[in-house]
């Protein structure tokens, strides 16, 4: 392993500040290396933040398939947490697996009944808003406050990198493919993520100066061309902007800002790919998305044909994690929102269960031998573990990269949020601790890793009645954020 402090060339430069934007300043990305060196040193090692989202509940009929029965850093992993002590090494001492959390709920779908930080009774996607923003969801699919990544942008000095592993919704829930929301002149604007691993690679790493001189020259010319194009686009944007009325200009402001952000990326003088900052291998074309194929037409536990899709989300998730890791290592990103799956995800679970059944269906007693719930529960837990695996994979890569007197993981705060937990389901009126349902925001869990700002991994702990967004706020506080997260004011002190 090499250490970051040896890589002086990671100091990024840029051309002179963008010309002629009329003095408008709207959340431009701000590179840490733009800080004067004294200030940068005073702040110590840079801190990174990653909010990761799994569109799946952790358990349904047998929570023991997910929740360990013992506590501390030597807890016994379960089917749903197996990735914390497996292929990626033993990470139990590097994480806090917080169980016993809950999001409060209304007994109806009436907006007036929703408690602060809570949700309506209808389950799917009513937890996303409280989870990522700390603001109650007034209806299903509602997000009513800016998400943590955007709240953190001023603290971390740059806008978030937004990525998603699930390629498409596959069979519904079209609006559930976003976990990043920002304030746009008093309106909340959902931010589309990068869904193409190849595009993320190209955006973050293609410009890292290659060692091969021929390739380096090709990159130099490519960047020059991009700069010429963006110069022209900036000019046309300014002319258009000056012609627009107030409301139209507001409508386009996010677009103008995104163009400026893109220009800054291109303008940044690329560091050489040396030291811990290595140019990842070009992943090539994105995996093909198959909504339903004759080769993978699914059959549920009753032998019925299932409508399912798959875009090699397993590979996409790994690639996205690789790129987040290297973006942290190279100092080109420090604020990430990473959606592994849509809420109520319909990804074909075959790659983890061997069954052609979508992940959501697994939570409804499918994916098992008919009439035998245990096998279905195990398959459900396996698909939970895939989300945990993505988290663990990224954590292990950060842990394996030295920085200063520690590792990248030491200077990171990362959290994995789940769509639901297990227990009572107010939508159906069914479920209890003894006969739980997955459509529940009782008994929710989060995974936290990293030691930024004094976060202290503690293995499995139970914080009965805490809110999962408190864990998110804890991570935000770990990287220097001092405000609240929507309606959530307090972090989980147990994490420090």
């Amino acid at each position: 392993m090499t250490i970051l402090r040896n890589v002086k060339s990671l100091q990024l430069g840029r051309r002179s500040f963008l010309r002629g934007l009329g003095g408008v300043s709207i959340g431009l990305p701000f590179l840490e290396c733009m800080l004067d060196s004294k200030r940068a040193r005073a702040q110590g090692m840079p801190r990174r933040f990653a909010m990761i989202y799994a569109g799946q509940s952790t358990g349904f009929a047998q929570p023991i398939q997910f929740e360990p029965s013992d506590f501390g850093t030597a807890f016994t992993t379960t089917v749903g947490t197996a990735a914390l002590n497996g292929e990626h090494g033993d990470l139990r001492g590097d994480v806090s697996l917080v169980t016993g959390l809950r999001i409060p709920y209304a007994g109806s779908n009436n907006a007036d009944d929703v408690p602060p930080t809570g949700r309506v009774a209808g389950f799917h996607d009513s937890t996303r808003g409280p989870l990522i923003s700390g603001v109650r969801a007034y209806s299903q699919d509602d997000v009513s406050g800016p998400s943590a990544d955007w709240l953190l942008a001023p603290t971390l000095g740059r806008n978030p990198l937004i990525v998603r592993a699930q390629a498409e919704p596959y069979r519904g829930g079209e609006g559930r493919g976003r976990i990043s929301f920002r304030d746009d002149n008093g309106n909340l604007a959902g931010q589309d993520p990068y869904v193409s691993p190849r595009q993320v690679w190209q955006s973050l790493f293609q410009g890292l100066t290659p060692q091969d001189p021929v390739e380096a020259e090709r990159e130099r010319l490519r960047i020059q061309r991009d700069q010429s194009v963006l110069d022209l686009v900036r000019g046309s944007s300014e002319r258009l902007r000056n012609r627009l009325g107030v409301r139209d200009r507001q409508r386009l402001e996010l677009h103008f800002e995104a163009l400026r952000e893109l220009e800054l990326r291109v303008d940044a003088v690329s560091p050489p790919a040396i030291g811990i900052c290595e140019r990842p291998i070009d992943p090539g074309a994105d995996p093909t998305v198959v909504v339903v194929s004759d080769d993978v037409v699914g059959v549920d536990m009753d032998g019925n044909l299932r409508d399912i899709g798959f875009g090699r989300e397993d590979l996409r998730a790994r690639l996205m994690a690789d790129f987040v890791h290297m973006a942290f290592a190279c100092g080109v990103e420090n604020n990430v929102s990473f959606q592994v799956s849509f809420g109520q995800t319909f990804i074909n679970s075959n790659f983890v269960t061997g069954l052609n059944t979508d992940i959501h269906e697994l939570s409804h007693y499918s994916g098992g031998v008919s009439g035998v719930q245990d096998s279905a529960q195990i398959n459900h837990a396996k698909s939970v573990n895939w989300h945990v695996d993505t988290f663990a994979y990224l954590a292990s890569k950060l842990k394996g990269t030295d920085e200063g007197d520690g590792t990248l993981l030491d200077h990171t705060a990362m959290v994995l949020l789940f769509e639901g937990g297990w227990g009572y389901d107010p939508e159906s009126g069914q479920g209890s601790d003894d006969d739980p349902r997955a459509h529940s925001s009782e008994n929710m869990s989060v995974l936290v890793a990293g030691r930024a700002g004094g976060l202290r991994p503690q293995g499995h702990i139970r914080v009965a009645g805490g809110h999962p967004a408190q864990a998110l706020l804890s991570c935000m506080r770990g990287v220097g954020y001092e405000g609240s997260l929507g309606e959530v004011d307090n972090e989980l002190t147990e994490l420090f």
Binding site: S108, H124, L232, R243, A258, V297, N304
Partner: protein, 563 residues
């Protein structure tokens, strides 16, 4: 449980038999009409447009700036550059469909809802990659360059030709003539060529920048403040041209339409009708009306085995095209035609696609096709409730119905059989229809859905339930207020004569044309348009003409879409 396309076809053929074979004309992209640029032509006044009606607000004018959908970007680039970047655009998060309004519960089925079109760095960055690819592939193709550029730069210093390229290609991509200072700015791209990149480098930079500019990616409507009503902006003729072409083609205007705009020939209703009729005679209108119906009827992204998606989509598009654009028949025949286009090629006697009769099969119109019947696939089977809901929310434009949480319903689990009682679906669902609290919705929705039960989630006919062969499917249902039916053919007849469906067609067309939800004060206008549509034989092309002839078609509110 694989269902090969051949087997599926045979199920269909068994049901319908063969009748008539016709040829299918390929849809070709237009060739760019290369003309000298009209750089300095001002849009001018539009003198003879009647003033807005004084008896109320002008409808459908609260419109925000719209971003081109991915489909519109793709089609526009095909039209202008002859390059298809469909694969590249698939790397961008798709435009969402079927979004339900949280207050009204109305479902907006199209991909162009302006309020959802927020920009982000991932969008812009990914779009740049796709647009760069379009420019690069175009410039690398000698034949395309020769056919679609007005001149070939003789050297890196050939500024006159560079200016002509900027003006001609820019006018097509930005859907208006470029101003002189805009052309001057783009001439700066020649520096790239002079620096060693060569002529092609100059052209690549020009086209990349034209494509990535907001002038291409957004539909900007600025107009001028109307002299009779300062709350309205009267669109300039190029903005009207874009409204026409995006409605009819889902892409920007061609040169003929831009020329008409430059000559101020879009100001009167007759002039707009003339142009719309021309656009509707083009193959791109076929594709656009196919998309309109596919999103409206819920089969744009069908949950079907991959081998069935293309032929089933071809089947649906062919029917829409034949009724609306070839025969110019009443639109209701989309629901009632007793013929369907089968594109299962090799399986047909003699090979090739063919029209076959659906007479006596229970099928008829779009509702009898696999694309539509894939709606409502749930629980590994069909959901009569979901199918009923699709018909209500999409075809009647009714608000979505959700169970009251106090009823404690889990919509993700199929009704289970009561122990010791029948496992047949109609009996299992009867629990809902007979439950006092649930009956209100389920009698309504399930009552419709069960009328389609003889057709599974891929559209294949079945006499008994797949999972319970002992259960014979009766396949009868009803539409409240319309009557009883058995199968899609009879359902189509019922819906074809429904005032509610006619009104919904008008509503959906206006939504599709504007990219916005209708407002409460628009209801009277929708009613008037519906009355005129019904009185005029109910032809879709006529309705489109009526829409573009209306005064509102050339106006926009000064406050955009502000509430």
């Amino acid at each position: 449980m694989k269902i090969p396309a051949f087997a599926h076809l045979m199920m269909l053929i068994t049901a319908v038999g063969c009748e008539q074979v016709i040829n299918v004309e390929p849809v070709a992209a237009s060739v760019v009409d290369v003309r000298p640029p009209a750089v300095d032509d001002p849009p001018g006044d539009i003198p003879d447009e009647p003033p807005p009606p004084a008896d109320g607000p002008v409808p459908f004018v609260h419109l925000d700036v719209r971003r081109l959908t991915l489909a519109e970007v793709r089609q526009s680039i095909v039209d202008v550059l002859g390059v298809d970047v469909g694969a590249e655009l698939s790397s961008i998060a798709p435009d969402p469909l079927k979004l339900e309004d949280s207050d009204s519960k109305l479902v907006f089925p199209f991909d162009n809802l302006a309020s959802q079109q927020t920009s982000s760095l991932p969008y812009v960055d990914s779009m740049k990659t796709a647009l760069d690819s379009a420019a690069d592939r175009f410039v690398a193709d000698d034949a395309l360059r020769a056919a679609r550029l007005p001149c070939a730069m003789s050297s890196v210093d050939d500024e006159p030709c560079a200016r002509e390229i900027i003006a001609v290609v820019g006018r097509r991509l930005w859907r208006r003539p470029l101003l002189a200072d805009e052309i001057d700015a783009f001439v700066g791209a020649m520096a790239r060529g002079r620096a060693g990149g060569g002529v092609n480098e100059t052209v690549v930079v020009i086209i990349r920048a034209l494509l990535l500019s907001p002038d291409f990616l957004f539909r900007i409507e600025q107009g001028t403040v109307d002299v009779t009503d300062p709350s309205l902006l009267r669109l300039d003729s190029f903005e009207v041209a874009s409204r026409l072409s995006f409605l009819a083609w889902g892409a920007g205007p061609d040169d003929a339409l831009l020329d008409a705009a430059a000559a101020n020939e879009l100001g009167t209703p007759n002039e707009r009708e003339l142009q719309l009729q021309r656009l509707l005679s083009d193959g791109r209108a076929r594709r656009q009306l196919g998309r309109f119906h596919s999103m409206w009827f819920g089969y744009e992204r069908p949950q079907l085995p991959s081998t069935l998606i293309a032929p089933m989509r071809a089947e649906a598009d062919a029917l829409v095209d034949k009724v609306t654009l070839i025969d110019r028949a009443p639109w209701r025949e989309v629901l009632t035609r007793n013929e369907t286009f089968v594109d299962y090629g090799l399986a047909l006697p003699g090979g090739g696609p063919a029209w076959v009769s659906t007479e006596g099969s229970g099928r008829g119109g779009l509702l009898g096709q696999g694309s539509f019947l894939a709606n409502g696939a749930k629980f590994g089977d069909t959901s009569p409730t979901t199918r009923g809901a699709v018909i209500q929310t999409l075809l009647f434009c009714a608000p979505a119905l959700h169970p009251d949480p106090s009823l404690m319903v889990n919509v993700d689990e199929a009704p289970a059989a009561v122990e010791g009682e029948s496992n047949c679906k109609i009996d299992r669902y009867a629990q809902h229809r007979n439950d006092g609290a649930c009956a209100g919705c389920h009698a309504f929705l399930d009552g419709t859905g069960f009328g389609l039960e003889n057709f599974d989630a891929t559209g294949a006919y079945r006499a008994t339930e797949t999972a319970a062969p002992e259960c014979t499917i009766e396949g009868t249902g009803s539409v409240p207020g319309s009557g009883e039916f058995s199968g899609p053919a009879e359902l189509g007849v019922l819906l074809a004569s429904s005032d509610g469906v006619n009104s919904c067609l008008v509503t959906q067309l206006v939504r599709f044309a504007t990219g916005h939800r209708e407002r409460e004060e628009d209801a009277a206008s929708i009613a008037r348009l519906t009355e005129r549509f019904v009185a005029a034989e109910g032809r879709l092309d006529w309705l489109m003409v009526d829409v573009v002839r209306q005064p509102f078609f050339v106006f926009r509110h000064v406050d955009g879409g502000a509430q």
